[in-house]
Symmetry: C2
Subunit: 195 residues, 2 copies
């Protein structure tokens, strides 16, 4: 894994602005690490649930290895991928490490660490939310719903800066992905505002 200081353009996002990284409903990558495995999977069903303390929810099917790793470790990362990662995002949602132990290599995932963190983060994304699992056995079992408190958030300043997404200024490659079904996604569109 690379160290953050080898990866330019990544800046911390204040926790009170962390919800903005997910507020527009992007499909995310979920990553986690326990004592034996690193898991990365795609999830379309992720949401903020609280501004302060910043909390998020994500639905993780019982068949996924990443879910087990999160249950074991108590930590996970939600990251917002972009159009240049489309094939990887799709592949990470279709393959399971249970069947394909080499999934991460086959999908072309490169990992790095943020400072003072051992959580596995995926290179090339637009934003990252590092979370501690808020253990809720009934939620998890009954609805596959996992809740986390955001402990650190980061974004690539080329697409999210000073608390704002720059989708209208940056190139198409940086657009977030919004999954529909199968291999079909929409990119995020244009800014519209109420005066």
């Amino acid at each position: 894994m690379n160290e953050l200081n080898l990866i330019p353009h990544i800046l911390p996002v204040p926790l009170e602005k962390a919800y903005r990284l997910l507020n527009h409903g992007p499909t995310v990558l979920v990553s986690a690490q326990d004592q034996t495995h690193i898991g990365v999977m795609t999830a379309a069903w992720a949401c903020p649930v609280e501004f302060k303390p910043a909390k998020v929810s994500v639905v993780l099917d019982k068949s996924t290895m990443t879910r087990t790793i999160i249950e074991n470790s108590g930590y996970f990362v939600l990251q917002v991928p972009n159009l240049k990662q489309l094939k990887m995002v799709y592949a990470l949602g279709m393959m399971s490490q249970h069947d394909a132990p080499e999934k991460l290599r086959q999908c072309g995932v490169n990992l790095f660490h943020f400072p003072h963190s051992t959580l596995p983060a995926v290179e090339g994304c637009s934003a990252w939310l590092l979370c501690t699992l808020i253990v809720e056995p009934h939620h998890q079992q009954q609805h596959d719903l996992f809740i986390g408190e955001v402990i650190h958030a980061y974004a690539d300043e080329r697409i999210f800066k000073d608390g704002h997404w720059l989708f209208d200024q940056a190139s198409e490659d940086w657009k977030s992905l919004h999954h529909v079904a199968g291999g079909h996604f929409y990119t995020i569109g244009h800014a519209v505002s109420v005066e």
Copy 2:
């Protein structure tokens, strides 16, 4: 309220396809009715949580009247609004009926009923998910998280047909809205697919 048969273009969506109405992360309107009130509010934090039976989650702050109405009645509607409703969507998220008893009239909301349903639905939206509340007191109290099972789903065939959104074919007016913060939203963009 109008009857559905006065509103052309609205077709049922099979429940196994209902998740597709929310899968791309749009901001929604939440509506509900109890014995004394009808509430409609905007919510950016809504998600599918299960394919079958189709289930959804939505975060509802304790300060909202719509939350109380849902707790009283056990039912709610999630609807997917579109760009032509931008001002209404913003206003429904900023005003509370606690302060403005005439909120719905002031926001320009027109309601209708689907057949065999007394749930209040907002005219002019792109899609509607009629839900029964799955009562989870701990979720609701601790995380403001409400889960519903979808009992009927509908969409306007001009923007969602045969299980697919038509954002690239329809006019800009039909684009879904993805809230960022304040009066700022993004519209949904273009379809991209993995071969």
